[in-house]
Symmetry: D2
Subunit: 494 residues, 4 copies
């Protein structure tokens, strides 16, 4: 049985009525209005390629309107009292709770994510909005004494943080809802207008969210959710009217954007090839169960997917045996079923890439401990061993249901192998030894060291983000809000 | 008499023995060693063009050594306990205190800064190191409960901040000592190695500081102070081994660097055309006295120089009369004299530029209330009125001893004029009205609103920096340290 | 028209259906059970002395059971994860919102508080629970570096705060709901069991609250709400099993309790004779309107009732004229009417005391500017002038609808008069001058200086409490929670 | 060789010139003056009963003058800018550093504390003043948004903390210097005048400190250091002019004071019978070495003396063997020798009491593993086993060089035994298991859980203090300062 590490269910309920979309035509959300444009796109179910809906794409013209209306509400948003921001964010959170099943269903359809993970993602978004509501009452502020030298005698400072302007948000397909919410919710809390570009593969859940947003008394220009083609979307990067670009996606795209971003601030939430260390002091059963979850949930299409497992040699055999056994129990099937653990990848192109990397590894000497044949966009959960760090399955972000499993001698060796990558997002360390925990925290070059859990662990208010090539900056409401604001000090006599 | 707003004298003593440099040849500081190179540069006294010393310039080769040695001490610096960082920083602070007069003298010679301001700057550097010492014991850390949803049950987070690697610092000529110290001191506190490029005009005081640094038990690679030509210096911007670029200088150069900086973080402390509002509720005598200081200290070669004065119409005449009177009392002369208020600018090129901008303004309708003839690199303190916002003396950073003085009707008008610029560093607001203070803080687009003092006000631990085109990020020890560190969360059961 | 300073209506709706109590017999809440006892008490409407309900009183026996069951759930409460505490507190908050009208009606009946104020109090309790929910996720925690000397090398500290045990809460009649909630809500957030003694005059609203509490999954022993006679109640003070006594009530009673409290911590929220300063820079109309509210809402039966008004002599006449005029417009009548501004005091005994103090003042030279004849427990709003600080209406807490109105010459005089009392809760200062605001904050000996509003101002998350004889400690969720917890440091290697 | 856990040597230097006191007559420090009185007391060396000096005692009259002068400087102290507080505290810290040897010598003489511990204590006091200096720049302040409900719209709060008045400090004999400094230094930082009563046995080091204090520009009334007899000293408890009583000493005295303290705040730093757990995952050699230090340094006359050792049964024998061996190596002798590890207790009365308790334990079945004959005030280091929790050596604070050493089966058993006491100061837990660390922190009822070190561990800026009968409140600069200050909120529009 798969331990569901990502599914932060508030109620635990997984039954979903089988909805159809309200309509087969989905308008996009431009500054408070739902509009049609001249460009359309068909969204399909990755599982069976069935048509879900036609969605519109924004062109330069629609984007321009969204930008100029966003500019127009900046002062109004800045002045919005905390209780209004709170009320808006809590309203959205509660409505999401009410409509949880509908949202999970659409999310499952557009992303191919098994239903229980889809419910988990909606639950997380409910929480992300609720935490943002609380943070809207706790925007950064600071009071400072300034009389540390005679020059500051009788003076004090009050630092308030003001919204720094229009935010450009770009969200990926893998958590189409919650990773968009990690940009929208802090923008509302901070008082910044935002234009969000969802992934063209998965725009439906955020456009459904737009309906709830439209019911609040946010000024119309505050939020736009606009699917765009890449060329139009590039204006989010280059247009000087955006004060901040917040991008979640692939490292290559992200770093390029940074160099084209002009004067604006840039936050990058990119990917990696996260590792796990299992020490012989850990509980094997628990670590196997959690690692299988970290490796294969949503077919590994997760930035903090557990890709590289290093197990202490003395327990390697036992761990491996159990790991394979639990992996083989994963239920493959239609994501719409609440029994399904693993389903199709987002598209066949990606499944083909994963297959290619696995084959390359095998040709270079790796062994497949469990796996199977790719079928269309479905790639079975695959475990490799005898890998080397120069194989793509090791040193690149696989973003698929593949893990490598290798023994290590000493904990220092394990750390060295974990660090042997240009990425640094999170790491899981299973151990009951204080000194191993301390060394892991001190020496592993990542944004998060997760003890006795998988790197895939994330709760929405914790600081989350990578170092090295995995990103720049942190999300997690308070941290994202901080990046969306600008310090201003008032110096006065007292 | 000029109120010395910048001179944060800890002891008030201004007498200076007339030193000569220890030697006419000044070696540069490469990773703990004082070295000669193949390139030299003559440093001259801006007041009389007399030769002060020959200094060496680093070439690519010397820079490369500095970088690789810096890389080599990263782990050692990261592990250095707080008490060692504290002891090193306090040692430097105390030695600066002991050698205050010598430092002030050299600073005066290389920059042409009147002696009392030079002493003030050294006093500030003493404080900057002392505050950094304290902050080294208070590096950012955070403890978080994670059990906000069932997913985080029995888990807690500890966020520690680790040094994010090698820092490139670029310092300007106008505060050659303290603005370099605002990069060096936080780097030591944070545990980052740093390579600092001082201005080629004023490298002597920081190279003298290097002698104190060399006496501490910082590992050799931790600090390099390397004058360089612009081409060599550009490697500080582009080399991917630097994790952070911290630049203080002109807006044009700064923003260009940001686009060339690759994956590294960038902090920019740039300039502006800071304004002042004088309301009729303010004390006129005090505000005149402070404004003259803010306008003409170090010939206005200060990022937060008070350039644009707006005075409520009902007190405009009285303010203007006093302002001119006090301005005319400023003592012009050799910076080596403790009587001197104003002396030469950094070079004739800049004095010529200021003269040209003043002439352009006059031709376009401005009137000179007091001023005089430029002589070489000396430009007399100049007050203009009847200016328009499209004149260079208004909308560009004059970086010279020139202010514009204009009346305003309503406080809202004054705010509008203050904001009518692409810069936003600091503003001074003289008022005794609560509502004017509040509106200024809420509406003026700057990094700092200084009530009843000039925009030129700065104490070293306050958050300092600009918005709009005036910069990105904040200095002020705690804030600079934060930028030099990277969050890492430890998630564990409790 | 009376500005309602206390009524923090979230929805602004004041219409109330005329409820009768569910039952004329009200059981008390002992460790999760609603019980009868051998002692009863009749609660009557202070307005017309009509019978509302019979309530039971706890004897030693019932109290003993409550204490021992509370002791029994301490570990369970300590371990309760944040999300459960949050869910419980938010559930109560939302249920209060749903039942707002019913709660307001009962509160009005038992306290004689005019309906609009009763609604305001319930609205505040909704907020008090919601803020406590948020604080339950943010219980105090601290991470410390310890390596400030070699003794602490490689060590770090984690400070967590643990619930410090059983809390005894004693609440007064004047805000029977919200001042009880200020003890119950933080206790739930902190994880402390609590036994609350409501005022015998007004136990009904908190006992109705108990019904909501009983629906949550708090362990049964966590909360008891037990009306008691004074002798039984004294055990809350002396019994060593209580770790904290939190008392809101009169100074005399409070300070005596402190000396009898043994080893437990004591928090005292007592009363005062709060003052107001109105400077000639203030807006007269606004200050009159707010001051009338601060003086007469709930007949001045408010700890931070505006009792002593000092008005700058130049505007004294104008202020006085308006103040009398607005005071005379107050609607007197049945508290059940939403038109009523002022109604009966809590009982005739108190009305008689107020009448006596007013008469004494008049005999000693004071003049009545407006007032009238007491009728039963109704005392009309009364304004006195020509008072002296040794009159009871000045130096004691009047807790009735009486204010003194006196002119002052200089702001320093006004401060001196405000400080001339053994109390120090809050003060209101109406001014537009920065220097007056600063002097007031620096020199007035109180827990809160309220600029441009009455001392009666309170929002529920701000730190609230008095100095001098007005109390010990602060309430306001975060602060109350802090007092209910105990620091424990974990020192470990890193 | 004894690991010196308390000796936080900054320089490591232990050589001391053999000083005599400056004078055999020591005046006491009354509000800035050194005075004689009518009462005297002879201070003797506990080691050989030799006369050290005659010191004066304050009577009611001298105390009265000290109190009224302290009252007179309250406003002046409150207004003292941060840089002056900082300069005063740093001056004292540096002078202590300069005179370290002299201070250590006097401390050794009056307390009988072996020289190396005396040096360690002075080093700590140097640090305590330096940290207080830093905290004087960081006095508690808070900026709050208040617009969480419409009632707070456009309002913000600034919370500043003001000194709460005159502090009464009572210090014990065992750390005559540093525990007095833990009251004096925060009082200076907070801006509170303080009257300190040192122990009559050990008043000399603090009176020597007074000489340094007198050289600063603290106003004269700010500090008094007055030895007194118990009756006079009782006024520190009862006099209402003291706002805070800060007592370090025995539990019996402390809790009695609380009940007599009237309206003032009370902080109690009392004793305990601290325990240690040694798990089989710990390094035995290190834990033995540290435990011997924690047990016998300064003959166990330490509030956090390691009194009760519980060792996991599997390593009990090995631990015991080493423990006895290292204990027997302790050098007994003249405290003036830097070789001495253990010397006389403070007086014969205490040595007799310890002897009596050990004898009682033996008669009740305990066995002495190592020990020996008391000689005068010297009691040899003694290790007992086969003890029971109802023996005085277990359940009372022995405050002498005696430890009990017992095996335990499970970690839960060990926790149960550690908790089986009415005290709760600190505990040491030697383990390398994460789960044991977590359970210890969660379940052991103390103020501090010290992992892999003895309960005797303390660095001066950490929060330190007990729960249960071991005290009330925390010291550790920041925490002590907080207790000496009173919150005041400024509510204003923004």
């Amino acid at each position: 049985m798969l331990v569901n590490v990502l599914c932060l269910s508030l109620v635990g309920e997984l039954w979903i009525k089988h909805l159809t979309m309200d309509s087969k035509e989905v308008k996009i959300f431009q500054a408070g209005r739902f509009i049609r444009t001249d460009l359309t796109l068909n969204v399909v179910n990755p599982y069976d390629q069935s048509f879900i809906a036609t969605v519109y794409l924004a062109s330069k013209k629609e984007l321009e309107t969204a930008i100029s209306e966003a500019e127009g509400v900046k002062v109004k948003l800045k002045r919005m009292p905390a209780y209004e921001r709170y009320n808006i964010l809590m309203y959205i959170s509660r409505q999401l709770e009410v409509q949880r099943d509908d949202f999970a269903h659409i999310l499952m359809l557009e992303s191919g994510k098994p239903l229980k993970y889809a419910v988990g993602e909606i639950n997380r978004s409910i929480q992300t909005f609720a935490v943002a509501a609380e943070e809207a009452r706790r925007l950064p502020r600071e009071s400072l004494s300034l009389d540390w030298t005679p020059a500051g005698k009788q003076k004090e400072g009050l630092v308030r943080y003001f919204p720094n302007g229009l935010v450009a948000g770009i969200a990926p397909f893998n958590f189409p809802m919650n990773l968009a919410v990690h940009k929208i919710a802090p923008a509302i809390a901070a008082g910044c207008p935002i234009i969000l570009k969802p992934s063209s593969k998965t725009p439906l859940s955020t456009l459904k969210l737009a309906k709830i947003i439209a019911e609040t008394n946010l000024p119309a220009g505050a939020i736009s959710i606009l699917p765009m083609d890449r060329e139009t979307g590039n204006q989010l990067v280059t247009d000087h009217r955006f004060a901040l670009l917040s991008f979640t996606g692939s490292p290559e795209v992200g770093w390029k954007m940074k160099s084209e971003a002009g004067k604006k601030k840039v936050v990058l939430e990119l990917g990696g090839n996260a590792g796990v260390i299992v020490s012989d002091s850990a509980d094997i059963k628990t670590s196997v169960s959690k690692c299988v979850g970290g490796a294969f949930s949503y077919s590994g299409q997760v930035c903090i997917h557990a890709q590289r497992l290093f197990v202490q040699h003395s327990v390697f055999e036992e761990f491996t045996k159990h790991f394979i056994q639990v992996t083989r129990q994963l239920q493959n099937g239609n994501p719409a079923s609440s029994e399904t653990d693993i389903s199709s990848m987002i598209d066949e192109e990606n499944a083909l890439r994963v297959e290619r990397w696995v084959n390359e590894a095998v040709q270079a000497g790796a062994r497949i401990l469990t796996g199977g044949q790719r079928q269309g966009s479905y790639h079975p959960p695959t475990v490799l061993t005898d890998t080397r760090s120069d194989m793509k399955v090791c040193h690149r972000e696989i973003f698929g249901p593949v893990v490598t499993l290798e023994p290590y001698e000493t904990f220092d060796d394990a750390i060295k192998q974990i660090n042997n990558t240009r990425y640094g997002l999170q790491v899981g360390v299973f151990t009951n030894k204080i000194d191993e925990m301390n060394r892991a925290f001190d020496q592993i070059e990542v944004g998060g060291v997760i003890v006795n859990d998988v790197p895939t662990f994330r709760v929405d208010h914790m600081p989350y983000g990578g170092i090295k090539d995995s990103g720049l900056g942190r999300e997690g409401l308070k941290y994202a809000i901080y990046d969306m604001m600008e310090a201003r000090i008032l110096v006065k006599d007292f």
